[in-house]
Amino acid sequence: MTTEASPPAAPAGPRALARQRRRRAAVRFWRQYRTHRAGLVGLAALALFALLALTAPLTVGSDVAGVTDAPGRPMESPSAEFPLGTDRFGRDLLGLLVWGSRVSLLVGLLAAVLSVVIGALVGITAGHYKGMYATVMMRVTDWFLVMPALVLAIALATVLPRSLGTVILAIGVTSWPTTARLVRAQTLAVESRPYIERAKALGAGHVHIMTRHVLPNVMPLVLAQTTLMVSGSILTEATLAFLGLGDPTVVSWGGMLQDAREAGAVSAGDWWYLVPPGIAIAGVALTFTLCGRAVESVLNPRLGVAR
């Protein structure tokens, strides 16, 4: 970030310079990320999961979720035709597992994005505008922070109609405060740098400073935060579905577990109904956590601030 005072001899304009700088930063980031083996494993697994979810319409197709033309008998054990057996409707569990990844990943991602967007918005504005506004916003943040998130999410999911949107909202609205705090701290650090002072002196407005100077600097943190948040969101989605607070007509991993439990698969010993969705949830959650930790340790916000 020392390149702010760019030498006047540079042939390109300031925009191009900034682009260049960012490209260099990205390359540097990747070089450091590469040294984290766990992060690489996570990234590879993540790519695999994403590929599975994106190609699901081609590989298994949406028909796999249909109950009326389910190919098998209810609760069949694994066979050559159904590698993971069938569910209570006689649907292919392997197909459902692949198809369910779409909803689980989608909900996890959207909820995390929602949460981080709220958190970043609150954090940046609270860090930028000091005074009454910041006090109130941080008070609200603190208050959300101490709310038992799962209890609040369950309450929200009960109050609102049962749908994917509700689940995303319930997770997003209850999990943003951590991000808000981190982003605010980072914003305060960025704004204390001299070049912000200079920008202000040159007449930059609030919006300009927040979007052009603060945002790019907190973006890496936001990114790391999102990655970490996804695993929590996926777990919470599964939890809500398991408690019967999801949409019963949508196939998701948590919903599959709930189905399995309701059908009595646990005591009937139908492990193939119960084990794969759990492993899938844990796998994706772990993947995101690994990536997030790697990203975070590359960026290490505290060092970033000190630099």
Binding site: G66, V67, T68, A70, P74, M75, R88, F89, G90, T158, P161, R162, G244, P248, T249, D259, R261, E262, A263, G264, A265, V266, S267, A268, G269, D270
Partner: protein, 622 residues
């Protein structure tokens, strides 16, 4: 920096213990953690046969999931609570386990006056309360009078006494009830009779839950000994019960909020009986040793109820049911699209009977099934034709359009706690989707609100049918509608059909059993034709018990019937313990062994921890 180091040493002495404390906890906690881990790996602890308690007592343990709402007979309405109260307080009459006709309870005989307005009950003299006092007619009179005079005492069973004029006890063995108008339920007054000498001391009946002083004074086959909310309810055999003491010494209702946990407990012998099994559970239990699955015709039906336009008796309409459902052809088309055979086969996996009329086949006297040409058999083509005929054509996107020009999407209420509702809902969604009709499956924990407000289109509906169909038939009469939209009526789903009402009234007044049965069947037939109540299935009562703990148990009806949730107390009263092993290897020894195991494991844990530490130190020295 040396300052840091100095600072480390210069810390005020008083602070040091604060750092010590967590470390002590650390050590202790880690030992315990090791102990836990070790306990898992120790193949010693004998956990089975928990159901058999100490000192050779024969204990019958029943797994339940529903929480007790109250143990006061004046407040309790949930099945689990009323079942327990049925065992602890005798009623005036009971139902015969074979055909459910009224048999003596506290009353040995009963007689109505000629105008049927005065009923005289003879109260038995050989019944005593568990505290030794005699049960008298005065107790019964007091119970009824309390319900008639104190609104708080009428919460649970008030409906039985709304029609009562006067209740007196001229002698300890005679109870006289005077009525305002004739009442059909006089030989089936399901009201627990409570001891006056205990209950007259109770102040506020709305707040007294009868769960503080144990044992609770009662007169039934079991005495309530102990209750821990959501943990267990413990009953002890009443050795002085007039019909004869139960053979089990104790009856415990033990809580398993999770159905699978209950089944697992049955497999291990932790509990003797489990009800409400899913098909998968029943199938896996079927072949196991020492377990008998009781798959009996149920008393319930599962129907798809249509909102026929909610209304009150004063004629005011409310709610927002879809207008298209007022057309009989639409209702029938929806039902024609339902393939009941698939539902029985896939959802219930054979543990149910295909639904037709309103009364389950178990009650053969009143059972009615449609003739071949009346039957709304699965026929999607006919369904589509009927919808076209009714004027609900498909638009360019293949969606049927309502009179308001919008695509039709029905809101279907389902019980979030019932997996079958949700499963069937998914089938309906696809079947109706092919017809061009959208569906919004609204699964709620508590459906009563939209239900009572009439803000739904269709709903999953189910009732437990009693041996006498009177009460379930009444639900669909115009008389059952709420007086105004502000009241709550007895009505199920606001049906008010003149033809049906006419048949209902006629069967109500008919004394000849055969003729009455015929009229009931006609009423059911009419209900079927209206398409308001589409019965999809009669689910079986699927239960299981351990034959090495229960030798025999009475089902109701005796031939093929259910065990849990009977009208009488026959199952738990009649159950006989199996003499095989069971009660001898009591929990006392199991407890001791567990104790020994825990002790050993703890020691091993401490040893292991110390060893680890020594090794760790050695490593550090290198």
């Amino acid at each position: 920096m040396s300052t840091q180091d100095q600072h480390g040493r210069k810390r005020p002495a008083a602070r040091i213990p604060r750092f010590r404390a967590p470390r002590l906890a650390t050590t202790g906690g880690f030992v315990a953690a090791l102990a836990l881990t070790a306990a898992l790996a120790t193949p010693l602890a004998p956990a089975a046969q928990q159901a058999r308690a100490d000192d050779g007592k024969k204990v019958l343990t029943v797994a339940v999931a529903q929480s007790v709402d109250s143990l006061s007979p004046f407040l309790a309405t949930r099945l689990v609570s009323t079942s327990i109260l049925r065992l602890t307080y005798e009623y005036l009459t009971n139902y015969d386990p074979k055909d459910a006709h009224a048999v003596p309870g506290l009353a040995t005989e009963w007689k109505p006056s000629a105008d049927k307005l005065t009923w005289t009950y003879k109260i038995r003299s050989d019944a005593t309360w568990s505290d030794g006092e005699k049960v008298t007619a005065e107790d019964a009179a007091w119970t009824f009078n309390k319900m008639m005079t104190d609104a708080n005492a009428a919460t649970a069973n008030g409906s039985f006494v709304t029609n009562f004029k006067k209740v007196t006890a001229p002698s300890p063995t005679e109870l006289v009830i005077e009525l305002d108008k004739p009442q059909a339920t006089m030989t089936s007054l399901d009201v627990p009779i409570v001891p006056k000498h205990v209950w007259e001391k109770v102040g506020d009946f709305s707040k007294f839950n009868n769960d503080k002083d144990f044992p609770v004074v009662g007169s039934g086959p079991y005495i309530l000994k102990d209750y821990e909310p959501d943990s267990y309810v413990r009953l002890e055999a009443n050795k002085k019960f007039w019909r004869g003491a139960p053979e089990f010494d104790e009856l415990v209702f033990k809580y398993y909020k999770d159905g699978d946990a209950a089944v697992a407990a049955l497999q291990k012998g932790e509990v003797s009986f489990v009800s409400n099994l899913t098909p998968a559970q029943a199938d896996s239990l079927e072949g196991q040793d020492d377990i008998k699955v009781n798959d009996a015709p149920g008393r319930r039906f599962l129907a798809l109820a249509v909102n026929p336009g909610a209304r009150a008796k004063d004629g005011e309409r409310f709610g927002d049911g879809h207008e298209s459902l007022l057309d009989q052809r639409v209702r029938q088309a929806l039902f024609l699209a339902v393939d009941r055979e698939t539902l029985i086969d896939k959802v219930y996996q054979g543990h149910a009977v295909e639904g037709e009329g309103y009364i389950p086949p178990r009650y053969s006297t009143y059972y009615w099934k449609p003739s071949a040409d009346q039957k709304l058999a699965h026929d999607p083509a006919e369904a589509a034709r009927l919808l076209d005929e009714a004027g609900y054509q498909k638009n360019s996107e293949g969606k049927r359009v309502g009179k308001d020009g919008k695509p039709i999407t029905y809101r279907v209420l389902c019980h979030a706690t019932d997996p079958n509702d949700k499963a069937i809902g998914q089938y309906l969604k696809e079947w109706w989707g092919e017809l061009g009709i959208g569906m919004d499956l609204q699964c709620l924990d508590n459906v009563s609100d939209p239900w009572l407000a009439g803000t739904y289109d269709l709903a999953f509906d189910g009732w437990s049918v009693s041996p006498d169909p009177e009460s379930v038939l009444f639900l669909h009469t115009c008389d059952a509608l709420p007086a105004t939209p502000e009241d709550t009526g007895a009505t199920d789903n606001f049906i008010c059909d003149k033809k049906y009402d006419d048949l209902y009234t006629r069967q109500h007044a008919e004394y000849d059993p055969a003729k009455r049965a015929d009229l009931v069947k006609q009423a059911v037939s009419r209900l079927y034709d209206t398409g308001y109540m589409n019965v999809m299935a009669y689910p079986n009562a699927v239960e299981a018990y351990r034959t090495d703990q229960i030798a025999s148990i009475t089902t109701m009806p005796e031939g093929a019937g259910n065990i849990y949730g009977q009208d009488g107390y026959w199952s738990w009263w009649s159950a006989t313990p199996a003499d095989s092993g069971g009660s001898s290897d009591g929990g006392g020894s199991a407890g001791v062994i567990t104790g020994v195991v825990v002790g050993v494991v703890l020691l091993a844990g401490v040893g292991g921890f110390l060893a680890m530490r020594r090794r760790a130190t050695a490593e550090d020295r290198e």
